[in-house]
């Protein structure tokens, strides 16, 4: 069963191969991440919209009741940051659930696989979005929002910057919180969602949230305990600060763990190990999966 090569004399391929550009792994990664931002514009639109809406509400509040503007000045700042971070978290969940499922559903996986980008690069670039891009983006948006708030409120009466906490200090704490909790601490959550997204034959949302629910139910009925639920809660609420500082304000509380404490938390390393396992499985699945 061979095709005789009598029709065309074989020209050595090597001599025909033109000079190929050198593409480094970093460049492939960069373009893969950019590709994600092209496809999922909600990654930056949603936090921007949340910030815009918040500012609108803030301005309305200032105009309607200017008398209250000095009360609890840091509260709206924390609230703005929390709102934008919360939006980022939700976007991250929906993004990771669709990232490896959507390309199978619309068959574009065949197109992506026709390019010299490995499954590992693809999955890592998709994981980069909730781990690095979304935290940095939400931080930048939150920072700008808070700065605009500062300008707006000080524009009415010059001088009184929130006395309890300097703006700079607050921003640094916010960055620290976003990078540690939203990036590293939530890594296993996003990795799990990516894994489900790579595997689910349909309805990835259901497959992502049903198994934990079932495990919780089974544990509750069989052992009358709720360790699994506690574990999930621990993962979602973040590493707990020592109880002594819990009485402080919200901003202090969320960044109460010093870097030394944070990086000594066993939950962090356990979570990262779990994330690595989930990701490795997602890479394998992406290699195997065909369009739905």
């Amino acid at each position: 069963m061979s095709t005789p090569s009598n029709t065309v004399s074989g020209i050595p391929v090597e001599s025909q191969a033109g000079a190929a550009a050198v593409i480094t792994a970093g460049r492939r990664m960069y373009w893969s991440v950019r590709r994600e931002l092209w496809e999922y514009r909600s990654i930056y639109i949603a936090p921007l919209a949340a910030a815009g809406l918040f500012l609108l509400a803030f301005v309305t509040g200032l105009t309607l009741s200017p008398a209250h503007r000095h009360e609890g000045l840091d509260t709206p700042y924390v609230f703005a940051a929390a709102l934008i971070m919360g939006t980022g978290f939700i976007v991250g969940i929906f993004y990771t659930l669709d990232a490896l499922y959507g390309e199978r559903r619309d068959r574009s996986i065949l197109f992506w696989k026709s390019l010299p980008v490995s499954d590992l690069t693809t999955v890592l670039s998709k994981f980069c979005i909730p781990l690095v891009i979304l935290p940095l983006l939400t931080f930048a948006i939150a920072l700008v929002t808070q700065f605009v708030m500062l300008l707006l409120s000080s524009g009415f009466s010059v001088g009184p910057l929130g006395a309890r906490m300097s703006f700079f200090h607050m921003s640094l704490m916010l960055l620290y919180h976003i990078l540690t909790v939203h990036g590293l601490w939530y890594a296993p959550i996003y990795a799990w969602l990516l894994l489900v997204s790579a595997w689910a034959p349909r309805a990835p949302f259901l497959w992502a949230f049903l198994p934990p629910f079932v495990i919780w139910g089974v544990e509750r009925i069989a052992f009358r305990t709720s360790h699994f639920l506690a574990m999930l809660q621990y993962r979602v609420t973040g590493p707990e600060p020592p109880t002594t500082v819990r009485s402080g304000n919200l901003m202090e509380m969320i960044s109460a763990l010093t870097p030394a404490q944070f990086f000594r938390t066993p939950g962090l390393w356990g979570g990262l190990a779990l994330a690595a396992i989930f990701l490795a499985a997602a890479v394998r699945l992406r290699r195997n999966r065909e369009p739905i």
Binding site: S2, G18, A20, S108, F111, S118, D119, T121
Partner: protein, 291 residues
């Protein structure tokens, strides 16, 4: 060096055998048409060649194992897997940027040149383009890659005849240069007959026919037999007979031209006719017996 070499390539989905231990060798510089009915295993063979599906048996594409080295293989090979796999959200310029960003052998200027001949706007999204334009875009992207192997799986499905003709014309004129290898499958066999250098029929996961187009033209002749000669013609053992307007058209394999010319009007058989002949003979014979 063979571009594609398979020995005992086999793939089963559960109890269904999609590819039944086939041997395959495609030399470089050839344009091979892989023809088969629906469900014959064409796409499975392609998926194995492109590293999209695991398989049993031996398979080397451009000297690499496609399943474990897909990303390296894709530097030298590219494929258009049916129409409409371009992501619908993508803008034309984003496609160009991305290819230039990740593909070492992509020549952006060349792709821009191909696109300039079309009416495709740089800023359009794929979902805004017509089916024919999407095919043009995909072809422009792929032809700008200096690849050694191009695999086309039903690249013109659902396109009108003008687009189809244009597609193969530009493939031949602007792309193929005899150092590249193209493997193509389509149901519109007659349209690519003149493009191919080799043809292969696949049925029920097995290769049932395999020859070069030169050999095909040398060996096969079709005669529209005059009614009075029909018995004499049948005595020469045609491989297939069909009736058109009451006259028998008989297909012969390796019978002398002069001998046949005496029986009626000689015609150049089409690959499609031979395909029908081979497959209907095969369904009569024991499965796989025609190998």
């Amino acid at each position: 060096m063979a571009c594609i070499e398979a020995r005992g390539l086999r793939k089963a989905f559960g109890t269904t055998i999609a590819v039944d231990s086939i041997d395959l060798r495609v030399e470089e510089g050839h344009i091979l048409g892989l023809i088969g009915p629906n469900g014959a295993g064409k796409t499975t063979v392609f998926n194995a060649i492109l590293g999209l599906t695991p398989y049993q048996g031996e398979l080397k594409v451009l000297g690499r194992d496609p399943w474990t080295q897909r990303d390296q293989l894709m530097r030298d090979a590219c494929f258009i897997a049916d129409v409409a796999v371009l992501p619908r959200w993508m803008r034309v310029c984003q496609g160009l940027d991305y290819f230039a960003g990740v593909h070492p052998r992509f020549d952006r200027a060349k792709a821009e040149g191909f696109l300039a001949k079309t009416t495709i706007q740089r800023n359009s999204r794929v979902r805004e383009l017509s089916k024919g334009m999407v095919a043009q875009l995909h072809l422009a992207l792929v032809m700008a890659i200096d690849a050694k192997l191009l695999v086309l799986d039903e690249p013109t499905l659902g396109l009108d005849i003008l687009f189809r003709k244009q597609f193969y014309d530009s493939l031949l004129n602007d792309y193929f240069d005899r150092s590249r290898t193209i493997v193509v499958t389509t149901h519109q066999v007659e349209e690519i007959q003149d493009v191919l250098t080799d043809v292969m029929f696949i049925n029920r996961g097995r290769i049932v026919f395999d020859c070069s187009m030169e050999e095909f033209e040398r060996r096969y002749l079709e005669v529209m037999v005059n009614p009075e000669n029909i018995a004499a013609a049948r005595a020469l053992k045609p491989i297939y007979e069909r009736q058109v307007f009451g006259r028998g058209i008989l297909l012969f394999d390796g019978v002398e031209r002069q001998q046949l010319a005496a029986l009626g009007d000689l015609r150049k058989p089409s690959v499609a006719d031979l395909f029908v002949a081979v497959l209907s003979n095969q369904s009569g014979a024991a499965q796989g017996g025609a190998r």
